[in-house]
Amino acid sequence: MARLGFLALAACVTFGASAASGQCRLCDLPSIAPSPAAPPNADVQLQVETNLSFDRMILTGPGSGAATIRPDGSSGTEGSIMELGPRATVGTVVVHGEPNRTVRIALPRRIELFSVGGGHITLDDVITDVGAIARLDTAGNMSFRFGGRLILSGDCDGPYRGDLPISVEYQ
């Protein structure tokens, strides 16, 4: 039975490899002529054009508050935050891949931002303007914007920074 398990493992690896490769590398001629402009199953690539920046926020007191930057670029504050800086920017990502393919966008709904002194604040409600599923255009391009809500509480002044991992895959 243990050998049967090993055989099953080997079989599945072989199956996966044959389906993933597009052509026979041992053949003299390629079995599939890939298009230079839009190769099938080409790697999907993404590039962050603009990072999400809340610029500066002025607190009115030690109470809690929140600042929101929406994917459409609008923003708002509530609670103990007096104002959002004029240089706040929404995040922008450019995706390139196979034309007309549907892609699934994955990014965390919530991350932590940290200060040099060890403090941390929370960015939640991370959303995009295209949802989790989007389609590349005929040139294989697509861009989306993302924003979120920053939650503050207590005496938390200082500069903060957090990483927001984004990945895209063909659906």
Binding site: G5, L9, V13, A19, M57, L113, Y160
Partner: protein, 194 residues
Amino acid sequence: MLFVNSVMTIRAGRLARTWTSGENMKTHLGIGGACLLSVMAASPAGAVSPATQATATAKIYKPLTIASVQNLNFGTIVLTGATFSGEVVSISQAGALTCGSNPGVLLTCSGSAQAAQYKLVGTNNATVTITCPGFNLTGPGTLAFTPNAPATVNLGATGATTGYTFSIGGSITLASTTPDGVYTGTFQVTADYQ
């Protein structure tokens, strides 16, 4: 393909019941099937981008307050020369007075001159932009005052508690025809986080 399908069936059967410690061989079979499922599921989807890191940043500040600590004062300036013009009297940010191009001859300065001082309280180590436009001193006549203020200051490690005090100097230009008397004016100093 048929063989693969049969493995899937076995794995589905394993999930339907509870495993025990005595079922090691069957467990291996289940792991093989699990691998198969994951590979089959990934194959049609195609390429996945490597995770790219975007960043989210924010600078959070306490409210910034500014308060006057002391006023600027040129002291007493006596127009000594008979005929002159364009004599500049200035006070540096450190409070040092310069009494024209030929002190004691064209102009004589006395009294305790001092620069203006303002105290900022805000977030520790924050950089603050200072703006102070020129204005006129008024009295028997009008004297244009040109401020000499720092463009930016850093509040330092005690900016939130003791605060940071900075100075503003400035200059006026006098002539022998300047009407004598007391001249006053009001600073409009603005401080903002950079």
